[in-house]
Symmetry: C2
Subunit: 362 residues, 2 copies
Amino acid sequence: MPKIFSVIMAGGVGTRFWPRSRERFPKQFLEIVGSGSLLQKTLARFGPLADKRQTFVVTNAVQAEAVRTQAPDIPNENILVEPVGRNTAPCIGLAASWIRRLDPDALMVVSPADHLIEDDEEFLRILKLALRVAEEKDALVTIGIKPTHPETGYGYIQSAEEELDQNPYRAEGVYRVKTFAEKPNLETAERFLSSGDFFWNSGIFVWRAGTILKEIELHLPELHEELLTVQKSIDSPNYQQVLDLAYGVIRSISIDYGVMEKAGNAFVVRGDFGWSDVGSWDEVVRVTPKDGEGNSLKGKVIVRDATNNFIDAGNKLVAAIGVKDLVIINTDDAILICKKGESQEVKEVVDYIRRKQMNEFL
Amino acid sequence: MPKIFSVIMAGGVGTRFWPRSRERFPKQFLEIVGSGSLLQKTLARFGPLADKRQTFVVTNAVQAEAVRTQAPDIPNENILVEPVGRNTAPCIGLAASWIRRLDPDALMVVSPADHLIEDDEEFLRILKLALRVAEEKDALVTIGIKPTHPETGYGYIQSAEEELDQNPYRAEGVYRVKTFAEKPNLETAERFLSSGDFFWNSGIFVWRAGTILKEIELHLPELHEELLTVQKSIDSPNYQQVLDLAYGVIRSISIDYGVMEKAGNAFVVRGDFGWSDVGSWDEVVRVTPKDGEGNSLKGKVIVRDATNNFIDAGNKLVAAIGVKDLVIINTDDAILICKKGESQEVKEVVDYIRRKQMNEFL
């Protein structure tokens, strides 16, 4: 069996967790649920699959220091620092280039650093199934989540119709991919949900490093050329300079759009392990335990006649009287008070802050 | 015409403006509406009536420093520091003792430091009318506010039925007092309101210093005895010691309950000058100007889809999304988020803080 590498993508710049998340300290570094940041939880989750030397974290210059601080066990050379974020295809290509160089047959699992998974054991079982498929079929395998509601914030994957004799893995929840679909509107999402053959795109991928690089060569030849140049310079003293030059010309493109949609040998493995991309405060509220009044309270909080609130008091005392369905987040320099169900508007607040150049709050 | 003295009672220990008001910094020192604290507004209001040397501020040891800081123009000897608060009768008696000593015929106007009055000019007109009645009739005069709703948070004054030939001042809105009533329940308050002969007790009084001391002698002889002892020591080096001893035995009692209810010569002057005791955040909200969305915003505040909120951001940035009818107060160490109409519960929160001995937040 070839070596297994895990690649954690930790370059997100999400603004949806303002005021907790900031430009230099985005979601993956936050202790959103329970103890440990999302990045730390992700690293722990992959621990049983690949040891530290076979774990890569891809991040960017602004966040590299936070990654090193939060992941002190990961060897420094395994923290790949992109000069600038260029979406997932270059990120994955860079990691694959490093990994293929270490082991031409290596399998790799790619995962965002900022998702939440409730059942780590089941998650590992699914990953092992996906690794088997990736190895045996030399396939690009993605993990699909069975949708529970017509979510408009996720991409979708449609599975193809096949007979069991064409694809014996079908019995284990492994399907050939028919199409990838961008984030739908509500009507389309409802159609996806009722059709039964659509999955949420978790952004978690499994493949041979060599296979994804071959597919990048096929569908994104310019990127592949830059990656080759970078790979050749890995051991040279001018690696950083080569990398900077490469990222100066590499265009921003997602692996889904740039490769997966065009690949002939893509599979989706159905997963059901309590996945959430925790993409908004509302999603955090959903996955956080609540007390008898439906409140989730963190820090010094006094409530009276208050129900179904999510309150993080930060370093202050918060008193909440007569309020319900609120998300209240106190940080060192800013406070958010948001009605539940409207946390997508946080992004608009951050945009407003940017427009007004109140940069100290970004 | 005898000299007119104003006496500002600034010893309030209100907890209803937590977290802005604190034990050492109660409501009268806060900039609740517009610029200047309530104490400073009160002093300015009385400026045209009595000059600084004829203005006394009665406070207590804990708050004396704040009074001196906020009222630097008031001569230090005019700031009377009670060793401990004993409600309004001792406070007024002490001030009257000082004033009678300066001028045996002096008239005095007594007012709490923490009320809000919109129409200062009309207020002064009413005070002058009250001063005339107090002088001519040697009466105890109180200012009554025409009630606009069945408020349960105020005391009430009932006016007596009289013919104009018995009381020609009646034409100017001056009535003999029939009874004083404590804070009523809602049913009683509604009855008071519909009866038409009840006024809110503003806690503002006008009388000769000598007259109120004579009434104290009659109805609170023990207090009067202590006050005489104190008065005799005013110029002596052991004044403070005498005062401390006196306040050690003086019992806590209000001027309404201890004197006014029993006095034979009490009048109420009807006033209509935009009076508010600003006794809660809800009352502050009521008297604060609002923008087109019904919001009152102070400091750095970003609102989206938010209406009818009162937000004081303190030294942070506050973002409010999708919320309505909230009072949000940020201070250095605590944040209040309170549904409008429930701000009377703030007192309960402070009681809770006290019970839990979280003294740093008191």
